[in-house]
Symmetry: C2
Subunit: 209 residues, 2 copies
């Protein structure tokens, strides 16, 4: 399969595929001559993944590249790789910074939840940032709500982890892509559940089942 066929298959302009090649999101095809290279379904699958990450997931090209690189070469420390991969996902919280207690809100929250955490883990900064934003906007999160959300998150995590493949490479792919791809699903479901509950409570005619 040549580049034009690959692009057509993926429904993208050739110029865009070339752009992804340049940016390192797509591995180069096997060169069959100075001006020809061949691509296979592996490349097609990758292209679809790139579109999923830059589209619905909302990653920038650079973030997608970072995530894909980690999936491609996980390194031998599974734990560190997963941490780094999640750090590459939006939203980006400010980095660890300076102070003795850089994440006061997140620390308090996690202690309250009785959760183990690594202060270097990017999600801690993300949590701090999100909690601060809610506060700044005048809608701070109550302890009770935090506990509720935390419990739900823990349930889902337990479920997901049970299904994680044993083999390290597959485990990284599963976790990283699972985080990136399933989060939008969870958010959409939450929004729809809000609507469902609202309709049942407020009583409204329009919706159909």
């Amino acid at each position: 399969m040549r580049i034009s066929a690959l692009a057509a298959e993926a429904g993208l302009p050739v110029a865009t595929v070339k752009y992804y090649l340049r940016e390192g999101l797509l591995q180069p095809g096997i060169a069959t001559s100075a001006t020809q290279a061949s691509y296979d379904e592996h490349h097609l699958r990758r292209l679809r993944l790139v579109r999923a990450l830059t589209g619905p997931v909302g990653l920038s090209v650079q973030q997608a590249r970072a995530v894909l690189q980690l999936v491609d070469e996980p390194g031998d420390d599974l734990y560190a790789t997963l941490g780094r991969a999640v750090g590459a996902l939006p939203p980006e919280g400010a980095e660890p910074a300076e102070a003795s207690d850089p994440f006061p809100r997140a620390r308090a929250a996690l202690e309250e939840l009785g959760q183990v955490y690594d202060p270097g883990f990017a999600a801690v900064a993300q949590l701090e940032c999100a909690l601060a934003a809610a506060e700044d906007a005048g809608m701070p999160i109550t302890r009770e709500r935090l506990a509720r959300y935390g419990r739900a998150a823990a349930d889902l995590a337990a479920y997901d982890l049970e299904r994680m493949p044993r083999e390290p490479h597959a485990a990284v792919e599963y976790t990283v892509l699972g985080t990136a791809l399933y989060e939008p699903v969870l958010l959409a479901l939450r929004r729809l559940a809000h609507q469902d509950v609202a309709v049942r409570r407020l009583g409204r005619a329009r919706p159909v089942e």
Copy 2:
């Protein structure tokens, strides 16, 4: 309070505050003369909200404007207003489109969950889009996982709705801002829960409680 004081208070350049005024994210101050206007804490709170929406929540300026307008002037149909507000939040799924069954995956999923839904509701398109992305990327969501996520979402929605203010204006603000501001919290908690579960299972030394 004049514009420079407002900007200083919010930690922003004056030019940026002017930009938000131009873009209609911030309501103009009360003009005290041809070249002076005065702002109060109301404006400051709004400015913080704008930063929360364009920062951690990840809205573009236009999306933030759309959300804020709905919060400001909810219209008399609470249900429609909430639907429109959620539609203004990312990620944007393609619009209803054409075909007889524009959202096959989402429809199947919601039927499976036994949920009431309005096909015109933006979150349906978002769900369709997210499910399609997961499929395209080679990690389709199983029925079982969907059920699990759906149940978690329903629990959270029930909790949130119970706490929704009665007064319509306040209800819109609560729902819209709650969606925008609490979603990042939920995602961060999910990521941290993954790590927590992983550590407990895989056994790892570094993290602290």
